[in-house]
């Protein structure tokens, strides 16, 4: 399945995920402490420069992900402009875009496997306390498998609906059969899991 990690590697891809997340948290706190539009513009420019260190293609891909923010930027500028405080509008809009850009940068340079490993490491105290984290890990893996299989099922249903119907385009009518398909698939996978010893087996083989 597609992820938001940038396809071509930058130097930051190899850095530890925990360090990147820590830096992101500090940078975001700092952003919210800044209260002059000029300083915020500087932070925004610095973030843009960070994107450019990954190359032009990388920067362009990243900035495209910020595009959905434009209505909010427009609203902030217009609203505070009408209130007679355009500087505050600019400050808030720049902070919004910079904070999202920084977080997106971490997502773009951290492979999903690194993120999952970090979550597993963070859950270590829970395991020490005797909580079994295996079901959560299994659920995560199952979702990754179910998304493409459900998408394919939806595609098939859409095709057969089109073959039967004179009307064009997908219809909400496929939602019913799709939901039934989802329930049946989940029941079958549950049966398969149970046949292979289920979840309890994992707890004992873990030794926890």
């Amino acid at each position: 399945m597609l992820s938001l990690t940038a396809p071509h590697r930058t130097r930051a891809h190899g850095w530890p995920a925990g360090a990147k997340l820590g830096a992101l948290a500090c940078a975001t706190i700092l952003l919210f402490a800044l209260d002059s539009p000029a300083a915020m513009a500087g932070a925004f420019a610095a973030t843009l420069a960070l994107y450019l260190t990954g190359g032009v293609t990388f920067a362009r891909a990243g900035l495209r992900r910020l595009w959905p923010l434009w209505p909010f930027v427009a609203i902030l500028l217009a609203w505070h402009g009408i209130d007679g405080n355009p500087a505050l509008g600019a400050l808030l809009a720049l902070r919004l875009v910079t904070a999202v850009a920084l977080a997106t940068l971490v997502t773009m340079t951290t492979p999903l496997s690194d993120m999952v490993a970090l979550v597993q490491w963070l859950a270590t105290p829970l395991r020490r306390m005797g909580l079994n984290t295996r079901p959560a890990a299994l659920a995560l893996a199952l979702v990754l498998r179910f998304v493409p299989s459900l998408t394919m099922a939806a595609g098939r249903l859409r095709q057969s609906w089109r073959a039967r119907s004179a009307r064009k385009g997908p219809s909400w009518r496929i939602l019913g059969p799709l939901a039934v398909h989802a329930l049946d698939d989940a029941e079958q996978v549950a049966l398969a899991l149970r046949a292979r010893g289920g979840l309890i087996e994992g707890t004992t083989s873990d030794g926890t």
Partner: protein
């Protein structure tokens, strides 16, 4: 136990897949996506606990960097964006939807699910969403609420659909509708 796990994972996937369906534009130009329909269904079909867990799993995968939010959004940027309240509200809304659906067990399935979807999937979700938007944009709660009112008619259609779909599922697979099992 295995069934609970695969159902939770399946509905997390369903929320994702419904978000991938291209949005339908209503008569007055507001795009609606089917993603929140998935959140409602998680609650109406799986009940409070499992439905909430399904939406939580979906949210976790999104934050870890999968582009599963409608429009292909995802990653940590979601936490800083104005729609953060809606994303974080998904598990709360699914839980509330399931809680109400389970409490109304005397009503016919479709009605109970529809009521759960309206109160949980719209009421609770918008409460979270508007609060997040007002915090991120630095405007009052009422002003933030104004920004999202245009989406409520679409969500009402989805709540009705959620009720109908839950009724259909209950007729087709009574054992699998865990909120009534």
């Amino acid at each position: 136990m295995e069934r609970n796990l695969t159902m939770v994972a399946m509905f997390a996937a369903l929320i994702a897949v419904l978000g991938l369906i291209p949005p339908i534009t209503l008569a007055f130009g507001v795009p609606i996506t089917a993603q929140s329909l998935g959140v409602m269904l998680a609650g109406t079909v799986l009940g409070a606990k499992r439905g909430g867990l399904a939406a939580l799993l979906f949210l976790g995968l999104t934050l870890l960097g999968l582009p599963l939010l409608s429009g292909g959004r995802g990653g940590l940027g979601v936490l800083a964006s104005p729609t953060v309240g809606f994303a974080l509200g998904f598990p709360v809304a699914a839980f509330a939807t399931g809680f109400i659906t389970e409490r109304l067990s005397r009503l016919p399935v479709g009605l109970a699910a529809g009521a759960g979807a309206i109160l949980g999937g719209i009421g609770v979700l918008y409460l979270c969403g508007i609060t997040g938007m007002s915090l991120v944009l630095g405007r009052s709660w009422g002003e933030a609420a104004l920004l999202v009112t245009a989406f409520i008619p679409g969500d009402l259609i989805k709540a009705v659909l959620a009720g109908m779909l839950t009724l259909m599922l209950y007729r087709a697979r009574p054992r699998s509708v865990l909120s009534r099992a």
